[in-house]
Symmetry: C2
């Protein structure tokens, strides 16, 4: 199993284990607090994938009987490290997918022009929520040249740009509505 055959979720899992996360539960936690905005994962994917990765020899799990119910801590095998590294250094075409219902509505908004303002406001409020979440994550200010740090910087800059765009668009619409005369 090399990088080319590594499933999308498999890559996230390998990466998270490399960052020190051990159990499926912990992986899900970290995904929800970090990569979620640009790469999500659900339990329904994570647990079956952990099993597949172990069958493929990329990770090795051992039950930790710390008193309670068995929890399984995974770590990378040498092959797993190599697969992760191969993926990271591969120049295969990247997956860039997006489904943005806000933009879709905007695209069709000429059909109902009076809804435009509300749509942009809805979009802005989404990104403002996202900004707040990212700020919460960013409490501990990691270096801008570390992976998670860079990603956070990118994400925050992006949502801030989007919020600015919305504000300007709202302004433009308001001006247009009052016949070009600023209120």
């Amino acid at each position: 199993m090399d990088a080319a055959q590594l499933s999308p979720t498999g890559r996230v899992i390998l990466g998270m284990i490399a960052l020190g996360r051990r159990t499926g539960y912990e992986i899900k936690q970290l995904v929800d607090h970090s990569t979620r905005h640009f790469w999500a994962a659900s339990y329904g994917q994570i647990y079956p994938e952990l099993r597949r990765l172990e069958e493929g020899g990329l990770i090795k799990g051992r039950p930790e009987g710390s008193g309670g119910r068995t929890k399984i801590a995974y770590e990378l095998t040498p092959e797993g490290s190599r697969a992760l590294y191969d993926w990271l250094s591969s120049d295969a075409p990247l997956v860039f997918e997006m489904r943005n219902e806000g933009m879709l509505k905007l695209f069709f908004s000429d059909v109902a022009p009076e809804t435009k303002l509300a749509q942009i406001r809805a979009m802005r409020s989404h990104y403002e929520r996202q900004r707040a979440e990212l700020h919460a994550i960013g409490k501990d200010p990691s270096e801008m040249t570390t992976g998670p740090g860079m990603t956070l910087d990118l994400g925050l800059g992006l949502v801030e740009w989007l919020i600015e765009w919305c504000l300007k668009a709202e302004d433009r619409l308001a001006t247009a509505a009052t016949g070009g005369v600023k209120a």
Copy 2:
């Protein structure tokens, strides 16, 4: 069938028909030249969905026997118009999904720091390609307050911001690599 039950692809189809597109083929064409970057659709979705929408009474198709093979031109029924309008003016939570493998690699890049520069360059080259495509679409300069025009403006601004971010990040990394001394 009201807006709440309208499937994602159904919304795109309804919108495209409202914008004047009639056949499944034409809808796919327009999607590929416009909404693709923030909302894609494949034939495998479009044709079955056209049938479902017709069964639901939202659109009505009639075969156009312009000589050759029957092609089917659809138009909105009054209920279809209403469903589209309902969706556009609804304040139900919006779908915002993203899978960005570039950011994912960046997130894990501390595992292989020497790949960082290449990753950011790959990301930039993706967005530069996208910018070129958007510029090609934007040949006819539509008003910034029309739906497609606004969306194009938003998309272009976004990719330009991303390209700038990449350039700055590349700079920062290059500087860090030479021990803080600019080359």
